[in-house]
Amino acid sequence: MALDKEFTQIPGTTVFDADQSRKGYWLNQFCMSLMKADNRARFKADERLYLDEWKMTEEQKQAVLARDLNRCIELGGNIYFLAKIGATDGRSFQQMAGGMTGMTEQEYRDMMIRGGRTIEGNRRIGEHGDAQRPRKDV
């Protein structure tokens, strides 16, 4: 039984299912490798060289080099895996999550303190909330 199509109808959201998992397998496994200090050091010393050791697509490698997490997710990345790149860079989860919204770090932090992003208009694609369009169109 395939996943309910409604999972693809939520704006600004990619549901990590088996298709995404297959597509992003080596991207995510590369991220896992950054759990080891030695690997973090080798990655930091020459990111391109380290990435070339993995069976990732060129697009995935470019997205990692650019730290474009939205693109990484589009290409099969999952946030819990991608978070290892953030940890390697010394970034918090809030910095990573905020970075995907097109807001500045301060704007995102302020939004959270005000109670977070509203659900109104953000339930389904085509409504008029603030999460409707991908970051590049904002």
Partner: protein, 286 residues
Amino acid sequence: MARITASLYTSHIPAVGAAFDLGKTKEDYWKPVFGGYDFDKQWMKTHKPDVIFAVYNDHATAFSLAMIPTFAIMTGPEFNPADEGYGARPVPTVIGDPELASHIASEVIQQDFDLTMVNEIDVDHGLTVPLSCVFGEVEAWPCKIIPFAVNVVQHPVPSGARCLALGRAIGKAIMSYPEDINVHIWGTGGMSHQLQGPRAGLINKEWDNKFLDRLIDDPMGLAKTPNIEYVREAGSEGIELVMWLVARGAMADVVAGGSKPKVAHRFYHVPASNTAVGHLILENAA
């Protein structure tokens, strides 16, 4: 025989663990979050468990994409806090209960829940942050802990109905254990949060509070909520809340038609980092 006297529900936000470890619990931003757990310290003095059965999820820490068990029970003797990329949290080792865990696995598998058994695993913030919130800074955790992991990372993840039914099976298994021990069952994760994409930062207070109301009064009805509703209304990572239904399913009213549990404590706060913090303690009638 073993008794389940209470269930406890709480978010397991990594930033809360970091704030705790860095001594920031009294700062303006964090004080209201940790304040929500002050009650627990007193309550635990009079309600101390021998064993906690703690339902959590691994966040790409011990389980990569190489292995994705839907339900995994930890039957080993001890589990170290994991290094999640920032260094391991400086908290005590988790001491398991291999005898009780094996008993539960055996009973639950024979009730047709096909569990994965894990003897060696490092446990991540999903398990250790709730322990820090509830017990504070301690030399050793005050009781044995059986970690139980649910896949809520790769969809399809188990439904609320399946989680509630699993909880019922776990409840029955615990109550058939011959030792005279006091067991608590914990459900962790949530509440509303989304960590990815342009919708990151989503919080839905109204939905969260309705979830708390229904978890207390109408767990069977709540369990019918389809997974798409969690993702749409509570954010892509809000799906973790299905794990609360495992704990709720083990309470007397669901397991054996007993009386409704008593609400000992209820707390809700926004925000902690990207997330709404929810916390609940329910007691079974004595």
